[in-house]
């Protein structure tokens, strides 16, 4: 940089310019924080966000809305409703009954955390809560399957109802796995995609198994 050492500005040339920093116009709702708005607005806004994500899960396209604004309300609602619907199974007092509420809850959340850790350890670029959000929201098809199963079981529990339940659960299991893979697979290194997808497959398989083997008492 020796050539620049003796650069100097001649003193007779005026230097002019502006040093004001342009400030964007204040949009009206930046002036008050969301603390002042009515509670109904807050709740409705959050509900709309959750509903939009449900729609994204049912029609999984490559949109990043699910990833960008993650929230865990949807997964919580789905997990609780699934765990509640899996209650009332055979013989809660006996040892060999179906999963208890706490077991379903733990399987879903602990399973989602383990899968997220697995994908991060393998070098994925997705953040922890984004991945939890996607895995939780993609339980939606299986919750729908559980609802359908309970309705079918009200009608009867013979072979025909079992076949219907089997078809519904298998279809929803495929839908869940494909939806979550569509959202999560892009953030993985390409030569490890199968290593990340397999635990997701196992996770939804276990949930599907719990739904399929639900027998009312």
């Amino acid at each position: 940089f020796a050539g620049l050492a003796d650069v100097s500005i001649a003193e007779d040339i005026p230097v002019e310019g502006e040093i004001t920093i342009p400030v964007g116009s204040h949009s009206p709702d930046e002036d008050y924080s969301t603390l002042d708005e009515p509670v109904r607005d807050t709740i409705v806004r959050d509900l709309k966000a959750v509903g939009k994500k449900f729609v994204h899960v049912m029609y999984p396209k490559k949109s990043s809305a699910l990833l960008r604004d993650w929230d865990l309300w949807g997964p919580l609602v789905l997990c609780v409703s699934l765990a509640l619907m899996l209650q009332g199974g055979s013989a809660d007092s006996k040892e060999d009954g179906g999963p208890q509420f706490a077991e379903v809850f733990v399987i879903i959340w602990f399973g989602a955390v383990v899968i997220t850790l697995n994908s991060k350890l393998l070098g994925g670029t997705i953040s922890f809560f984004q991945s939890l959000c996607v895995l939780g929201y993609c339980v939606l098809p299986l919750t729908v399957a559980m609802l359908v199963c309970r309705l079918v079981l009200l009608a009867g529990s013979g072979t025909v109802s079992f076949i219907i339940r089997l078809i519904v659960v298998v279809a929803m299991f495929g839908w869940s796995t494909l939806a979550s893979t569509a959202f999560l697979a892009d953030s993985q290194p390409p030569n490890r995609k199968a290593l990340v997808v397999y635990p997701i497959f196992l996770f939804y398989f276990v949930i599907s198994w719990m739904i399929l083997t639900f027998t009312p008492q």
Binding site: S90, D96, N118, L121, K193, L195, W209, M210, F214
Partner: protein, 306 residues
């Protein structure tokens, strides 16, 4: 030039003479940098051993630590440290699984597949898959066995999942810990050629459990003969992987201790298989009086009647 060549040959002759006189001298060979630590231990250079050493790899005994690896330089409280245990690609995991299912006689699993890069992905997820496979297959098999009986009421037996998980994870992690501790203790008494790090032992055990997954699925078939043939077959395959891995590590030791170690490894492996078969899968031919008897009591009746 001829005299220069003669001079160089003379130098080599001198070196050879020196080496013949003092075989334990440290020599430096350019192609195998790992030879240096090997020559520092006093060893009998038997011709048969050299071939095994080539299969078994370098002597790591002066580098063994709880979790070996030159590349794990991040401190253990950072995330990057644990990422080094998952540094595998899909094809590597598939290769390791293939190596555990088709053991090649004479080839050491650790040397061939893992020595460069032990991982925790395989052991963890193979164990998880095995847990759920055993629980689901056991449930399905019991369902098919009792299907025709009018008094039978299907139960999902979800409790068994947690029992299966405890058993299999305890086997896959505590037995390697004990084995590693034992090998370290023997290593301090007898200089072994080969020693493994804790992570490599966990890897071998994890991948050797893979054969039990299709075995558990095939155990649904309600024939006693078929089930026991499957037990023996899978035990032979995965047992041979374990034996071929650990025999070189104890071979230099006292004969009895070596045989006892390898025998214990195989025995524990067999116990796992037989125990899972007995507990999770009801026997096909017995007639049950009423389904009120919980499945646990039934399987104890089954084991007593064997």
């Amino acid at each position: 030039i001829a005299s220069l060549v003669m001079y160089l040959f003379a130098e080599f002759d001198d070196a050879a003479n020196l080496l013949a006189a003092n075989p334990d001298a440290t020599t430096i060979s350019i192609d195998e940098p790992a030879e240096i630590p090997k020559n520092q231990h006093s060893r009998r250079q038997e011709p048969g051993r050299e071939e095994d050493d080539e299969l078994l790899g370098t002597d790591d005994s002066d580098k063994t630590e709880l979790l070996a690896g030159q590349k794990k330089s991040a401190p253990f409280w950072t995330f990057e440290y644990y990422q080094t245990f998952f540094d595998v690609d899909t094809y590597q995991v598939l290769d390791r699984i293939k190596g555990s299912v088709f053991p090649v006689p004479g080839k050491n699993f650790v040397r061939l597949y893992i020595r460069s890069n032990p991982d925790l992905y395989g052991p963890f997820w193979i164990c998880a898959t095995l847990v759920f496979t055993i629980a689901v297959s056991g449930n399905l098999s019991n369902f098919f066995i009792h299907l025709g009986k009018p008094t039978y009421h299907y139960v999902p037996e979800f409790r068994k999942v947690s029992i299966a998980a405890t058993t299999i994870y305890a086997y896959a992690w505590l037995v390697p810990l004990a084995l590693w501790g034992f090998l370290m203790w023997r290593n301090s008494k007898v200089m072994n050629i080969v020693s493994y790090s804790f992570l490599e032992i966990v890897c071998v055990y994890g991948y050797s459990l893979f054969i039990y997954i299709p075995t558990a699925i095939l155990w649904i078939i309600p024939q006693k003969v078929v089930r026991w043939v499957l037990v023996v077959f899978s035990l032979c395959l995965s047992g041979s992987v374990l034996v071929m891995t650990f025999w070189p590590a104890v071979r230099d030791d006292n004969r009895r201790i070596a045989l006892a170690t390898v025998g214990t490894i195989v025995l524990l492996h067999a116990l796992l298989a037989v125990g899972c078969l007995a507990y999770f899968f009801d026997a096909p031919e017995l007639d049950f009086p009423a389904p009120v008897i919980p499945a646990h009591n039934v399987s104890t009746v089954v084991t007593k009647s064997r």
